[in-house]
Amino acid sequence: MKQLITLEVNGEVHELAVEKDATLLKVLRDQLGLNGPKRGCDSGGCGCCTVHVDGKAVYSCMCYALSYDGAKVTTAEGLSSGPDLHPLQESFIEAGAVQCGYCTCGMMMSAKQLLDDNPHPDEEEIRRGISGNLCRCTGYAKIVEAVKLASER
């Protein structure tokens, strides 16, 4: 039997009936139709599913949805609204940090956590800040550059 939870996702409140073993990722993708959090491994290894819960970056594939009743969730879709993009979204485009793009949303959410905690990180701090996110296309160079660029804005 499903259980009811409330989630505030990107500023919108949802009442959801979720399976007991459903992960936050599954609820965000399959019940709310979001595309930003992506499933790459389902075991906390790739970071494609990274979202913010109450302002903290987490692997949404490792969170039981029922544990997060009442939480505020931000996905890449919630990074910006209106015509202007978030500085990270802008800098990822500008630096050429997006290739296949499958890691991009999770990567930006980790980068956002980093910049929230440390607005002017150096290269080593940036690399450590995104070390929980795998990218197979870029070799990370342009992602590091993008985060640096965003930190200067």
Partner: protein, 778 residues
Amino acid sequence: MKNLNVVGQSVERPDAYDKVTGGKGYPVNVRLPGMLHGKMLRSPYAHARIVSIDASRAEKLPGVKAVLLPRDVPQVKFTPVFFVPVQAPSMVLDFDVMNGETVRYVGQPVAAVAATTPEIAEAALDLIDVEYETLPAVFDPEEAMQDGAPQLHADAPNNVAKNPSFQFGDLEKGFEEADYVFEGVYQTQRVHTCYMEPRVCVVDMDRRDNVTIHVSTQHVFGTREKLAFALGIPESKVKVVKAPYIGGGFGGKLELTAMEPVAALLSKKCGRPVRIEQTRHEDFITTTRNPIKMYLKTGVKKDGTFTARYARSILDCGAHATHGSEVIMVHGAFGIFFNYHAPHQKWEGYTVYTNNMIGGGYRGYGAPQGSFAVESQIDEICAKLNLDPIEMRLKNARKQGEPHPFNPAFTLATYGLEECLRQGADKMNWPAARSAPRQEGTKKRGFGLAVHPVWVSGCMGFPDIYEHSGAIVKINRDGTADLATAAMDIGSGQITTLCQIAAEELGLPAGAVRMSSQVDTDTVPFDAPTHASRVTYSAGNAVKAAAAAAKKRLLEVAATIMEVSPEDLEVCHGRVSVKGVPDKSVTVAAVAQRAESPFVQMTAEGPKPTTMEEKGTIIGVASQAPKSNPSPCAAQFVEVEVDTETGEVKVLHAVYAHDIGRVINPKAAEGQVEGGFQQGLGYALMENIQFDGETGACLTSDFLDYKIPTALEMPRRMDTLFIETDEPTGPFGAKSLGECCVITPAPAIANAIYDAIGVRFTTLPITPERVLAGLGKL
């Protein structure tokens, strides 16, 4: 080289905006009304006979809508490889979707279920009772070749699926002429492409066999051909929807697997669309880069000139040959045989069946394996004979203007290998760095290089491989253009590059050409896959031709407006003007509006006919094979630091110089090279799919157990150099890039490790444990 307006600029990727705001275009996001979820039951045994399958308990589980057993699946054999015809004579035709008699690897699908949720489908799998009779299994290809080894396929004595060879000259004579002979055995491992988007498809198949499939694939037409064959229906019944983009491929989504036909047949049974999304574990055991063991023997003169080369390569293709039929050929040709001049050469390849998982395509396609052997051995030769590794390579390398080694009908018209080596060496400060005193202590630094001398820009000239490309270019009334092609963007920027080529040819500004995101195999011309480093060159040429055809029509219509001859017109920055008279011009938009305006137009003086000849959408279509197969080339330099107490190796600096012809988009090209290095570094130092030696079960099927480099393992300095040449057969002088940049990191790193600690590693990956053992500390 001629200055161009759009080509050569790092224009923004048109797909990037979509991807940073959520990325709705991936096939993994396709959700259809009424969609069911499929799961496959996989064999737990490496080799077994299926005695019986009983699915009656599974069928009764609430939520289960259909169960698929081998008897429901057409029992046909074919090659699932996308880039060759499904019954290509040069391939081994041994693949089947769901074999009802024998399983040959752990993970082979034996049944499938469609249910209302993936969880119910998964639970139903546990209720399918399969009785197996286990058979002896063999996991080592050389053991599999021995008499008395378990035979995996009836028509492959000693488990040899394919045994090609190349030869010229007189090998014996060549070795007699040598001052020195070097011999080595080099072993490469099984690695995964690790695309981030899993294999996924959503298939709708009706009772009249009309199939529509959304799938994460590198080739929509290959999917159509192989899926139709597997289902036993005409090709035209299958519509493959081209996704705007997919989440990576790297060669890993270049063949049909059981997933697509299984989803189709389940869909037909249920009358509803069926989605199958593989787990990461399933992806890890679906395809890999084939491991190859190479026995390499080289005769050289004192000055380093090759006199003779002999190589034997044993490729472990796993349970079915699939890509192993072709990887062995590309490996022999471009990994070993044609790289350098040698007057006397022989190569023999063996594609060998084992009870391991099936091999597949992966960026480089046999060349990274060959390069590891060849470039490592050259380094051994240089060390022993005290030769300069740059000059030694140049002495044996091909030169610009020579015939193409693989197909003498083509020429190496552009070939910047020497400049790659010289400029790369400068950037690394090579002579000074190599001769500087090394810091002592427990960490030792070293420098290494490797080159990849000959590679491809597509497959033109290869037997049985599709090569042609097609494109449709349509000019809109607002002065923009739409481009439609079947060429997939797998992440490497094909959309961007092709739009730039079209814009350049049409004389439109960057950004004025848009790649159509809503096409399928019904609506666009055939294109070969996004593989073999071919899209910029081959698809680029077709796009350029389609744009040229549209431009021709554009100038004809403009000529009627301007009352001049079309030959006197040119188009630039979105305006058509009379050559030499820039003031006399009209906009492309005005011309397109005129072409699509009503024939009879109402004016103050009443209805007035216009010119019939100018009417009709301005459109250009092309479908063609490229003219040649020019070779890109590359030189790679690395600096490493070896921790002699733990065996850990860090790459501190990498310099990668490429001749890829003219660079269409520098930033995108740099991204390819930097990403290629990540894959090469992983191959060199850490990646390895491992199996239980007894059962054949995969031990490393997630990212906790299968390690790929994160941002912290990558070098802090990466310098990417492009030695631009102007390839006469390429679109605006371009050749190719996709794979060249993934081939040389492993030997370059191995050579640098040797330079640092004096230990030669001939087995990949060079793990900390192997390094410590090599240092005699274990």
